[in-house]
């Protein structure tokens, strides 16, 4: 076992993170941008949660807010974020600095721009080790090399002395993972970790993250717009739209029996290998909602093919499915309900006529 675990005062199992009605609003000249508008969930130690949504739905702001990295100027935060039982929302950076890199870590989307181009890799990995764990230089160096081996980078010692631009994209992302793992955090945020990488490398990176997670009993929040990414690597998925959570379910169940039409649309838009060539890519028409003046009622209503009048007037609350309390959704006429079926028939008929 190569993990570097710390166990004092740590939650070894059970609830690690509790987010309640979190809202992040920005004051801008145009008005108040409600980037995150009432998100709640809990995360257990060792589990992986995927947060999925289009660009602009607030998922990145969500992860940064939870971690506390969001810049504070012009930002209004409400709600609660409890990490290991302690409230951390709104804590000033001085107090959070001990947590960052040590108990919570984040890996970013673009490894080329996220690594300091003028600093050797070794130094960048050693930095949190020496900072948080007060490791002497020699030990830090050896640990850094070991971390590089953990993330499957060959010739670890040689790599320590190299600069980021001398490595390939996949390797750079591995370095980022190594940096994140350095002090053995209990919670890892991965913000679009594979978007900037080649498809072939994506799978490897996701595998690596999963492996580290299991070895270290670490929780993971995987933020992405790509449902394919979360499919095999998360325990639970939360779908975000317009700053709100619109569906949350264990992964298998989400794919098997989704309720929210937005989730359905997301799934449909994934091109499948089995499709014939020249199959039209199914798009979701329209654009994401304006976060300053969100539509009244359900935020997805303007783009939802099954929208009824009620959807446009009243906002649906997040409710649990009758048969599984861990699956909740926010829709008046979810997939499978009679109104949905009627609307579906109508649409198919129109398609048939037009085809």
């Amino acid at each position: 076992m190569t993990a570097h675990l710390q166990t004092e005062g740590r939650v070894a199992a059970g609830t690690l993170l509790e987010v309640s009605d979190l809202r992040t609003h920005f004051s801008t000249p145009r008005g108040v941008v409600r980037a995150v508008d009432g998100v709640s969930f809990t995360l257990e130690r060792g589990k992986a949660l995927g947060i999925v949504g289009e660009s602009g739905c607030g998922k990145t702001v969500l992860s940064r807010t939870i971690m506390g990295l969001q810049p504070r100027r012009g930002t209004h935060l409400t709600g609660s974020v409890r990490f290991e039982g302690k409230e951390i929302l709104g804590l000033p950076p001085q107090q959070m600095r001990g947590v960052w890199g040590r108990e919570m870590a984040m890996i970013f989307q673009d490894p080329m721009t996220s690594l300091n181009p003028l600093m050797r890799i070794g130094r960048q990995i050693e930095e949190p080790l020496r900072n948080h764990l007060d490791m002497p230089r020699g030990e830090a160096s050896a640990t850094a090399a070991r971390l590089l081996r953990d993330v499957k980078i060959p010739e670890a010692e040689r790599r320590l002395r190299q600069y980021p631009h001398e490595l390939s994209g996949g390797m750079r992302q591995r370095v980022m993972i190594a940096i994140a793992m350095a002090c053995g955090p209990t919670l890892l945020f991965a913000d679009e970790p594979t978007t900037a990488l080649d498809v072939t490398v994506q799978a490897q990176i996701l595998e690596l993250i999963g492996e580290q997670r299991r070895d270290r009993n670490m929780s993971l929040i995987l933020v992405t717009h790509d449902l394919g990414v979360v499919a095999g690597h998360t325990d639970e998925i939360a779908v975000m739209y317009g700053g709100k959570l619109v569906e949350k379910a264990p992964t298998r169940r989400l794919f098997a029996s989704m309720r929210m039409p937005y989730t359905e649309a997301l799934l449909r838009s994934i091109p499948k290998l089995e499709d014939a060539s020249h199959t039209r890519l199914a798009m979701i028409p329209g654009r994401p909602p304006d976060l300053v003046n969100p539509p009244q009622g359900c935020r997805f209503a303007p783009r939802c093919p099954y929208a009824q009048d009620r959807c446009r007037e009243e906002e649906p609350p997040l409710v649990a499915t009758p048969d599984d309390p861990s699956h909740s959704y926010a829709c008046w006429y979810p997939v499978g309900s009679p109104e949905y079926r009627a609307a579906r028939e109508r649409i198919d008929a129109e398609k048939g006529r037009a085809a």
Partner: protein
């Protein structure tokens, strides 16, 4: 589900700074500049600007400090420092503004051609600039004025004022041309130019109707900042002895003349210095505000 514990971060409102041109600073600056120009322009007719040339007999040799009689005090020959400052403004402004105008016209034309025609013409013009810019400014200035001095014996209209203007114009051509060239290059790639071309507009037409109007904001900003720079340059030159011939005076010359006596008659040096400083600052503020209003990126002049 825990209740919202209200651990809200402070709401810090940071509104965007207004990008208007007429801020407090620029209004003050413009007022100063307009006032100064008017004073300088009408100096001959204003009753309170007197004794610029030694006319009084009662006061000699720096006798008077600043006071009611002599607002800025009197200088070595009993002349009123205030009046000399105003007449100095005449000279300093005239020289700097004339030079910048020449610089903009010539430099602008060259830059425009280089940026629009591109190719060989651009390359040749570029080389020209390179050489001009590599010429140490001071050496060029001092040398040219010095040599023109010698020539002036044979050429009657070649007063020092002209020499200095010629030199300053020469020095401002290259930097202005570079800026104009850069702007032209970027403008000529923009869609509205391509649109005009596709509608069959000829080259000259495009130049005058599309590109030139868009260069105006940059040119105005360059003009103001340029005048500031040139005034400083003229001040420096004057201090080194290369200024306008007596009895006229520019601020730099005033400073140079009265520098030795600064401990007994500080007013003769300090006031021209203040005038120079405030005027240069005013030009800079206006030029800078203008550039920021129209979002102009320029190479350092």
């Amino acid at each position: 589900m825990t209740a919202a514990s209200g651990a809200a971060g402070p709401t810090v409102r940071t509104p965007k700074r207004p990008n208007r041109f007429l801020t407090g600073g620029s209004v003050l600056s413009l007022t100063w500049l307009i006032g100064l120009t008017l004073l300088a322009f009408f100096a001959d007719y204003l009753p309170f600007i007197r004794y610029a040339t030694a006319r009084t007999k009662s006061v000699t040799n720096y006798k008077a400090g600043p006071g009611l009689d002599f607002w800025f005090g009197s200088d070595r020959l009993g002349r009123d420092v205030f009046a000399r400052c105003i007449y100095g403004a005449q000279i300093s402004l005239r020289v700097a503004v004339a030079s910048i105008i020449v610089g903009i016209v010539v430099g602008g034309a060259l830059g425009l051609i280089a940026g629009y025609v591109k190719g060989r013409t651009d390359a040749t013009i570029n080389v020209l600039f390179d050489v001009l810019l590599s010429f140490p400014a001071l050496i060029l200035a001092v040398l040219v004025v010095g040599r023109l001095d010698v020539l002036a014996a044979d050429v009657p209209w070649l007063t020092r004022t002209w020499s200095v203007t010629i030199v300053l114009s020469l020095l401002s051509i290259a930097p202005i041309a570079r800026i104009v060239r850069a702007q032209t290059l970027s403008l000529s790639e923009r869609e509205f130019v391509l649109a005009a071309r596709s509608l069959g507009a000829g080259r000259m037409r495009i130049l005058f109707k599309e590109i030139l109007p868009n260069l105006v904001p940059a040119m105005v900003s360059v003009a103001f900042t340029g005048v500031a720079v040139l005034m400083v340059a003229e001040g420096g030159l004057a201090f080194l002895g290369y200024s306008v011939e007596s009895p006229s005076s520019s601020w730099g010359k005033l400073i140079a003349e009265n520098r030795e006596k600064i401990d007994v008659a500080w007013w003769a040096t300090i006031f021209p210095s203040l005038m120079l400083f405030i005027t240069v600052l005013a030009f800079n503020v206006v030029g800078d505000r203008f550039a920021r209003r129209f979002d102009i990126r320029e190479a350092a002049l």
